[in-house]
Symmetry: D2
């Protein structure tokens, strides 16, 4: 095994670049993965633009598929050479937050055991996976073996996009017979659409303005699509639901406009499930909030992680419940990652997700 | 039985006055109650001030204790002369909303069966109970017999204040061991405090600025009180929870300030249960919302109604789990209701709730 | 409208026969339907055999599709001539049980508002729908309009089979990624299989011994089928789940053998959702129950009813989430219902469900 | 620190005796506690009698209060000398079961991550705490610091009795206004009674035959007590609930008789929460099970563990929500543990729980 590796690091606002870094040394609870496939997330673009601050020199990326290269001395139940994924969020398993089922807010190391976003470590508080090798902390809680019959690309969406999008459907507590509106059909919105279908929503309305994304939404489960550049989505959804509104709306973009629309389309007693990463304060109009008397719910979800979550998502893929390979529109080598960032950041060429292979 | 009765009606903005009105005639599903005790709600003050619009001439009031005077031809299971209460919210029982367990948003009569606030009829869309007689619609879903050993005043808080306050604790899904902050200790906030205790919260922090209300909060279950005129409640609550924040916060006032504070004191993954009737748009600061990544929940609750709800609340009183009689600080005759409105509207003389007897 | 009608009545143990009866007279809350399509249920066979006692002379049947012929004086929101269905269970909407969301145990008319199986009225405590006309009680809570684009046969399974089968999946609280075993693939088991798929189960194992039923199970969503006449289903399911057991098992037959197997195949912490109508005591082996220490759950479900339930089920059909028409294997005229009973009771000719048209 | 210690070990059926054993050596994730107080559980009596098999030579006991003597090399967030408790169940935090919130069925080390009762290690699969020293595995998930103001005896019930008893109330999903029956008022039943009160049950019926236990039940929250040696408890509970039955029943003994009675006293749609450790098969009478049509639930609970659980339980004690010190009726030195077993096993002298101090 080499001593050094190539890694995409955050240099400064506006610049992520390949650098040579030491291959990580692992502790007793860690594992070292050799990355075989990874991808770029919208959040990485936030980091690139300086909208979400990380330390200069940090390796970016939180969606790893790889092979176990080495296991910490206390790690049991895995073997070197095994192909695995780990979630974007890597709960320790032992914090108070984790023991409450809230591993994304893992506060391992704090006095009380909770920390906002504390479970998100890869490419945020520790080095990420846009590199040749990756240290996975708390390996026993996080490494999920990949079945031989699944390719890297089939499971590439599990660590973040699929877990987050499905999480939006789950947090919306969708039931058989629900009508659901999903605002924005980027990768996460598309997965939310697929998740809504998988949970039994019987009328799914997908909103976007890019025809290709709306077409993909149909493919993944949307019954109706609304192009918001052509019609007002609130009015369209009211009409499609005979004036009643939807049981659940999912916000998957992170803007005031979509958040507000997602609130307005709810039936009384409905629930807004928010997945977006916002960068501004939000405004709740009195009428959209029914003056506080509408029995409405708003819930936000950070990508659920941990090996059991990954196992379940892979089971959905293996069971042919959903196929997210069409989301991978472009392929790059790690050495060309700058190009990949450029394409993905500009949303050029109909890009949805890229696959990056070291 | 007389043909006419005294009733407190909304005359115009700023004026509720006694008027002589016909005693209601009932339909097959209705009941006619002779009111024995009622009270005034903060919402009635909103109506008085014109902040919540109702039709001129409407009888106000939605918290009835009374005796069945007459039963509609299709009503079974009750007897004339029986003492009963009905909730402030009177679900029909047969709308789609009701059949989903969401009777407060009852849309009986609409095509799809949902209507914002549709279950709130008394003193809103039909005549209320600040009168000698009251027509109760859908009587079989709404009349709850009062046990002989309970006085009118013991159950006077059930129709609204207790149902709403407890509903705030319930919507917060409080569990044994939770820490809970309750913002504002008016009648509803006090009931939320009592409800939080009843559900197993083990550290309850009550916020207000009126010493008497904070003292009452302690009596009803608060472990800590914070006088926000003396200290910043967000800082105080952070300190009282060792920097962690509360599991659940309850907003019981209806202002931006309390809503925002209730959001800021949550631990990651916490839940804000909102009871306030707001009269302005709300603003959610980006940091208080953890940029959408904090696994936070916000849920609003309109007073749950129906006879089963009333039965359960009365069971809590009969079982000595809570005693809300201390909330009734003043007594009036119906003919003096103008005086009662004046006192209650001005929050004079330490008033919490008034009892009004025709 | 005629004064009399043909109806299939329970004469005595072993004998259901057509009789001429008066067309029902309706009360203020009722509706009169002209039946256009109905069917026979396994429960009707229990009644026929005297295993489930009903009053001689009672009209049998609880799965109605029909047209509104007349509305009670207090019924609003419907029009004569409208095509509707009503659930097998007809909750009043106003009992304590209903107001708790438990309409199948509706105790309208009792002092406390709960009665075992009280919501099941058609063909049990009041005349049923294997007749030309049907009185529907509490019409506003129970009549669900059928969209023009849906045929009678498309919605014929909604009142009972689909509601019950889906209810089994729902009571099992199936989540995305669950493995589920469904014991017996009669009409209800097949619907449970379809419901499990609709809720996100990613590995569904269907058990039966009839090849045609197992084939139909595959068509409706089963990933694996186990023919229990050829292999031990407990062993087979253990093997298919790598020794782990299933998250949820559904019992859809009503025998000790299937109940016990459904318990044995659970993973620790799993849940048995029971739909069967049992006719003997049950026996729980100590080991299958993990001596009470396995965090296991057992839950039984009686067919959920009410118009909102029917609306949701029809939404699943209209949204092409499931197509249950293949379950209707045979057609009869009402006048030939004796023949239909004979075929269905003997399970001859691959019968799953019959459609009966007056 | 000494090399050897005294420990109560299972010698053979009928014999638990003090033996000198080496003080445990700890691994990187473990902690070594010096036990300051412990107790004997009913389960230990099952072990003593050979009804629950364990390996000869195993140290018994699973309810530790102690002081951290030494920490494994990978354990962070604790200090030597800190006073702590650990639950009877010690979840690893990283198994699939744990990541599903089901740590009592922890399958760490198995291929799929689930194992019946796998979380119960102390005095079952590894040495327990009736000794001078205890090795706590997965220390970071399990050590819960005890506040200075709480004595050992105040928290002695947390590891098992209180966690299990409260767990019975929680698994019963008790809500404000529920009526609850608790069968048997031994230590666990008494804690279930206290837990039911803490969750808002407003009518709690405690069943036993020992007057002192019934008196203690009243002290901990029971509204009614039924001495089953004087009256039939099913009839008594039916009468106390006006014929309706209870919303939730809790079985806390582990016998057919109590299990069956707990089923029979349920209202339709009710839920039996079972805590007992059974030693025979169970029998479910057809009528008590409503032939499978009663919307009934049965759920079993194994003592929830982990440090967050312990923290919450101690919060209830610190917040004066419950005081379980009266359950400690007798005190012994570790060297006299044989005497303690004799007293506790015979249920002599009104013993409820004993405190044992090394």
């Amino acid at each position: 095994m080499p001593r050094t590796m190539q890694a995409a690091v955050f240099v400064e606002k506006g610049r992520i670049a390949l650098r040579e870094k030491p291959v990580p040394e692992i502790g007793p609870l860690d594992a070292l993965l050799r990355i075989t496939t990874t991808t770029i997330c919208g959040t990485d673009i936030h980091i690139l633009k300086g909208e979400y601050p990380v330390a200069p020199g940090l390796t970016i990326g939180h969606e790893p598929v790889g092979v176990i290269e080495r296991l910490g001395s206390a790690v049991q139940g895995y073997g070197e050479g095994q192909r695995v994924i780990a979630g974007a969020i890597t709960p320790s398993g032992h914090s108070n937050a984790c023991l409450c089922g809230c591993g994304a807010q893992d506060g391992a190391g704090t006095a009380h055991g909770w920390k906002p976003l504390g479970g998100w470590r890869f490419g945020n508080t520790i080095d990420g996976c846009q590199a040749e090798y990756l240290l996975v902390p708390d390996a026993m809680a996080n490494l999920a073996p990949v079945a031989d019959r699944l390719t890297d690309e089939q499971v590439l969406m599990c660590p973040d996009i699929m877990s987050t999008g499905f999480g939006g459907a789950e947090s919306g507590r969708i039931r058989i017979g629900d009508s659901v509106a999903v605002f924005a059909q980027g990768p996460i919105g598309l997965c939310a659409t697929a998740g809504a279908k998988l949970m039994g929503a019987t009328s799914i309305i997908a909103v976007d303005r890019v025809p290709e994304r709306l077409a993909m939404a149909r493919q993944l489960g949307a019954d109706h699509v609304v192009n918001f550049s052509k019609e007002d989505p609130v009015e369209a959804i009211r009409r499609l639901t005979d004036g009643r509104g939807v049981d659940v709306s999912i916000e998957a973009l992170g803007l005031q406009q979509t958040f507000e629309a997602a609130l307005r389309v709810l039936r009384p007693g409905g629930r807004l499930s928010s997945l977006g990463v916002y960068s501004t304060d939000l405004h709740i109009p009195l009428d959209a909030f029914a003056a506080g008397l509408g029995d409405l719910g708003i819930v936000t979800t950070l990508c659920p992680g941990g090996k059991e979550r990954m196992r379940r998502l892979m089971a959905a893929i293996e069971g042919n419940r959903v196929d997210l390979r069409p989301l991978v529109t472009h392929h790059f080598r790690l050495r060309d990652i700058a190009e990949a960032y450029e394409l993905f950041g500009q949303q050029r060429d109909g890009v949805l997700k890229v696959a990056i292979v070291p």
